[in-house]
Each structure stands twice: as structure tokens, then as C-alpha cells.
């Protein structure tokens, strides 16, 4: 599904002493099949922007079109929209509520009008997808799971509705390295075809570099750049101005370049970079 954002603006508590401009004149397009990273410091408007995509926040100014649905119209078919745009909040394990994992995962599908059998099948599929054994966890209470498992169960709860666009807000925040790996492997699997379009909000530039084909940068509610990760990390003005980090691989390449050693590779993880460096020095 294609998402078109046109001149979007949003103000919190307008006309009060607490008025705050959250988004200002944002225009960009997310194409079908994109894995889009949204980056910027805390408070730059990333979450506000994403909450527009499934009308959790209604359009104040400007236009958004998701597939065929015009979100700036007076009446929006929320059910269809929210079924198609799945949204994973930060620390999603905090929204688990049902007495069994299965019921929790089926909550979305049943709300969106799946039949009992369809919901059951969707829950199985989603739990498999996130790497949880259906038979083992289905009848467990979600609160008995470990931290990483809870996170994955919560993700399954979003995937079960089979959205065509998936928005992930800081999906790895607070997880330990293994938990992180598991989530990132899942994102890779999703990219490989389960979900058409993935949007990731993240502070972790290593993740953005590794997973996204496009990235938009927000600063104080304004769109600062709409580009590819590779190009973004070449724009030191933007990276430094918005207090983003460089991915470590990029930082190492930059440090080497300063010393006159140029590594001509778009390597974005440690192993690729090692191979590139080894290749250069062995030759």
C-alpha cells in the first residue's frame, strides 16, 4: 500500500498556553514495498506523524492518503484502515491484557470481523511467524512469558490482522542483545514478503542502516531529509545537527578516510566491513 503525505501539519492543544506545533508542512510518499526508517531526536514528531497513518490522530491540516483511503476526508472507514495499517507501539508488551496468549493475539482479528476459525488460523500463523511455539504458549497467560517473549507475543497481536502496512515504533527498545536479534530477524522475515510496507521508528542507526531502503529525518516537526541511509550518513551536516549517531560501521569508515584509508564498500554490518577491509589489505 502506498502512503501519500501532503503538507501535513499538527498542533497540540491549539489556542491554549500549552500550544505546541508537532508537525509542520510534511510532504513525502511511502511506496509499496518500502522499508522506511523515520529518525530524529525525541520530540521531533516521529510518533505524532506515525499515529496519523491509522487515524489515531486525525488530520488537522494537509492530506494523507493510505491506499485508496483519504484520511483527511470527513468520514473515514476506521475498521478497514486499521486492519490494513498495523501499528506496534513502544514497549508493546505493556498492552497485553487477555488471560491467554491466544485470546490476546486474536483480539485484533476478531475486532476486524474475522470469524472464530479465521482468527484461530491467523493467531497460529502470527505466533509461528514471531518464533513462538503455538502449542506451548497459546493457553499460557501472557504475563508468564519472559520479557522478550512478551514483546514477540505483542507483535503477533498486530501481525495477526494481516496488515499491508506495518508501523514499528522502537521495536527493540529495552531488549537485551538476544531479544534484539530475534526482533530484527523477524523484521527481515517481514521484509521478505509477509507485509508489503514496513515503517520503523528508531534511534538505533545501526538498525536503520541495515534494514531500511529509505529514511526520512524529522527535526522539530519539520521534514529535514527524505533520502537513502547510505546518502544520509554521507550528509554529516544533517547527522550532526539532529544529534543522530553514525552507525559504527560508517564511523569506522569515516575515521579511516580521515587517515587516508578509503574503504570502498557500502558494508553496513561488522562482518561485511571486516571482509571489505581484509579484502583491501590482502590484495
Amino acid at each position: 500500500m502506498r502512503i501519500e503525505v501532503k503538507e501535513l501539519g499538527f498542533v497540540y492543544s491549539p489556542k491554549s498556553p500549552f500550544e505546541k506545533v508537532a508537525l509542520d508542512d510534511i510532504t513525502f510518499t511511502v511506496n509499496e514495498g518500502d522499508t522506511l526508517g523515520i529518525v530524529g531526536s525525541t520530540g521531533s514528531g516521529k510518533s505524532t506523524l506515525c499515529r496519523h497513518f491509522n487515524a489515531l490522530i486525525r488530520v488537522q491540516r494537509g492530506e494523507i492518503t493510505v491506499g485508496e483511503i483519504r484520511l483527511h476526508a470527513k468520514k473515514v472507514d476506521l475498521k478497514t484502515l486499521r486492519k490494513n495499517v498495523g501499528m506496534l507501539f513502544q514497549f508493546p508488551e505493556y498492552q497485553l491484557f487477555a488471560d491467554t496468549v491466544k485470546k490476546d493475539v486474536e483480539f485484533g482479528p476478531l475486532n476486524f470481523g474475522f470469524s472464530a476459525e479465521e482468527a484461530d488460523a491467523a493467531a497460529r500463523e502470527a505466533l509461528e511467524l514471531v518464533g513462538l511455539d503455538f502449542d506451548e504458549v497459546a493457553s499460557k497467560s501472557p504475563f508468564e512469558l519472559s520479557g522478550g517473549q512478551m514483546r514477540r507475543a505483542a507483535i503477533a497481536g498486530v501481525l495477526a490482522s494481516r496488515p499491508s502496512v506495518l508501523v514499528l515504533d522502537e521495536p527493540t527498545a529495552g531488549l537485551d542483545p538476544r531479544g534484539k536479534r530475534e526482533i530484527l530477524e523477524l523484521v527481515t522475515a517481514l521484509k521478505a514478503g509477509v507485509t508489503g510496507t514496513v515503517i520503523i521508528i528508531s534511534h538505533n542507526m545501526d538498525e536503520i542502516a541495515e534494514f531500511c531502503n529509505r529514511v526520512v529525518v524529522l527535526e522539530n516537526g519539520k521534514l529535514l531529509a527524505d533520502t537513502t541511509p547510505d546518502e544520509l550518513f554521507n550528509r554529516s551536516d544533517i547527522v550532526e545537527r539532529t544529534e543522530l549517531d553514525y552507525p559504527h560501521t560508517v564511523k569506522i569508515k569515516r575515521l579511516l578516510a580521515e587517515k587516508g584509508v578509503f574503504i570502498d564498500s557500502s558494508a553496513l554490518n561488522a562482518d561485511e566491513l571486516s571482509a571489505a577491509i581484509a579484502g583491501r589489505f590482502k590484495a
Partner: protein, 313 residues
């Protein structure tokens, strides 16, 4: 929460190869332990298990830790490795089943002196929102000293001092509600500092923060160590936060499977793998290059790695 039983490290109880790396010998290790002083905190052969009804789950087993004045110590491990249990044993929140923990010579099992222990070993937690008791920052910072019966005039100076170290003096009269996570956590640190502890333990205090917040906390830690000569114990699963430590304890399944300077611990590939952690990119690349037959020393930071690689030319 998050007490996850891991199979990865639990089953492999074979003794670990000790320092089989060849890097550490040729490189200076850490900044050196001030071993001439007495440790502030000393834990010897500490074991603790959680009991709920019939169920017993192991927290930590036979761990010994020494924290010296002015040291920055990192306790590293993934969720469920026992790192938080260990932290809570160090200030008397938990009392060991076996072994002894002393703070300046006082046994933490001594109920009558527990407040002495807690005022000497301060602790900051994971979620900054859950540790503030007042809606005005200075009142929140005053809470600890008030509880200790510190005279009013002195509380005043302590607040100023504590907020200055963490760089939040200008927010003194404000509300914590609109601060960033890193700022809130700095207030939480100031609230502990106002009690003038000798050691401050940060129990996963960086886990919920964004990179900027984490940087702020790491800068604060170094300031406390360098300017105040305080001992800081950081509990974390981010290996990159341990790079600047004087000493690391690497926890896995309730045991300290390795300890020493960052260089010693990080280059112990086997232990890092068992602990389920991820080496910083620079360290990984340097190890890869060495395996590929290049003459590259073990690098902890991106800068070190760049130096090493340039030396190849």
C-alpha cells in the same frame, strides 16, 4: 520481571579458558585498581535464591565482588543473568543466603544498620518515572536528606551541589513531567547524590533511554568518578557502555564467568558468547581481521580500530 531462564549458558558448566587471548598481555589494562585502599563494598561467595511457594529459582551463585572508592565498575549480563539480583545484594535490599556482603565493614544482614548501608550505597533504578516522589524537582531531591534528618540549611546546599553535578540546576523549581528520559534519570541520580553516598549503583538505569539519554548518563558517571571520586556501579547489557569501565564482572546464569578490565573481558570471546552479549562493532571487526590473518590488535573503540588498521599500511 524479565527473569528469563537461559539454556545457552546454564548447561555449559565446563571451566572457562582463562585469558587465552594474546592481546591483553601487551596492552595496558584499565586504569588500574586502587587496591591499596580498603574496598567500600565487599561481597564474598554470595549466593541468593528466589523462593515463591515451592518454587526456587536461582538468583546468583557464589559471586565475589569488590568495589573500591573512585572505581567505575560495570556488571554486564543479559536479562535473567542475575545482574540485578547481584546489585540488590550490594545495598542490602536482598540479604544473601550464603556468603557475606559488607559495606565499609558493616554486614548488610545487620537490620539495625540497614539505613547506614543504604545511605552509603545509593541506588538508581530503570524507569525514572517510578522513582520520583514530588512534583517539584527540588522537593524530590530534598526527600532523601529529609528522611535522614539533615538540617534544612544543609539540604539547601546539597540540592544545589547535586543538581549542578548532573547539570540540571536550571530546572530546580520546575516539574519533572516535561523532561526527557535522560534528564529525568539525571534528576534521579541527583536525588541519590543529595544523600552523599560513597557508591552509587545504577540498576539498568540506561535501559529505557534513547541514545542521547544514555550518553548523558555515561557523561554523568564519568563526572562522578573523576570530579567527586565516587565509586559507580553500572548494571547493563550494553557492552559499549562498559568500554570505559575500570572493572567488569560478566554475569551468566547467576555466576560471574569473567571479570577484569574491559580489554581482558571483551577479548575473552568464549565468555562473551556464553553470556549472550554482543561485542561492540570495533571489537568484532578487529577479531575478524585477526582471524583473516591480518596483524591487527584487539580494539575496543572505533578510534582504536582505525589506528590499528592504519598501522597495517
Amino acid at each position: 520481571m524479565n527473569e528469563e531462564k537461559s539454556d545457552a549458558c546454564g548447561k555449559e558448566t565446563a571451566p572457562l579458558p582463562e585469558k587465552e587471548n594474546d592481546f591483553t598481555t601487551e596492552l595496558p589494562s584499565g586504569t588500574g585498581t586502587p587496591s591499596d585502599n580498603a574496598p567500600v563494598i565487599k561481597a564474598e561467595g554470595v549466593t541468593y535464591s528466589y523462593r515463591s511457594g515451592e518454587q526456587v529459582s536461582r538468583g546468583v551463585t557464589g559471586v565475589s565482588v569488590e568495589i573500591y572508592p573512585g572505581e567505575f565498575v560495570v556488571i554486564l549480563g543479559r536479562n535473567g543473568s542475575g545482574k540485578s539480583t547481584l546489585a540488590k545484594l550490594l545495598n542490602g535490599f536482598l540479604v544473601p543466603d550464603e556468603g557475606v556482603v559488607t559495606v565499609n565493614g558493616t554486614d548488610t544482614a545487620d537490620d539495625d544498620k540497614i539505613f547506614k548501608v543504604r545511605s552509603e550505597v545509593g541506588m538508581v533504578f530503570q524507569n525514572p518515572d517510578n522513582q520520583m516522589v514530588a512534583s517539584v524537582i527540588e522537593s524530590d531531591v530534598a526527600f532523601g536528606p529529609e528522611n535522614l534528618g539533615v538540617p534544612r540549611e544543609e539540604i539547601e546546599t546539597r540540592i544545589t551541589e547535586a543538581l549542578e553535578i548532573v547539570g540540571m540546576e536550571s530546572y530546580r523549581k520546575g516539574s519533572p513531567n516535561r523532561l526527557s528520559g535522560g534528564q529525568k534519570q539525571r534528576i534521579a541520580i541527583a536525588a541519590i547524590l543529595a544523600m552523599r553516598p560513597e557508591v552509587i549503583i545504577l540498576d539498568e538505569s540506561t535501559a529505557m533511554l534513547d541514545p542521547k539519554g544514555r550518553r548523558e548518563i555515561m557523561e554523568t558517571i564519568l563526572k562522578l568518578k573523576n570530579e567527586k571520586g565516587m565509586a559507580v556501579v553500572l548494571i547493563t547489557h550494553y557492552m559499549d557502555e562498559a568500554i570505559g569501565a575500570d572493572k567488569i564482572y560478566l554475569m551468566c546464569d547467576g555466576e560471574a564467568i569473567a571479570s577484569g578490565s574491559p580489554r581482558e573481558v571483551f577479548s575473552n570471546e568464549e565468555a562473551v558468547r556464553l553470556a549472550g552479549l554482543e561485542l561492540p562493532v570495533a571489537a568484532r571487526v578487529s577479531l575478524n581481521l585477526k582471524k583473516a590473518g591480518l596483524d591487527v590488535g584487539f580494539a575496543l573503540t572505533d578510534e582504536e580500530l582505525a589506528e590499528e588498521i592504519c598501522a597495517l599500511k
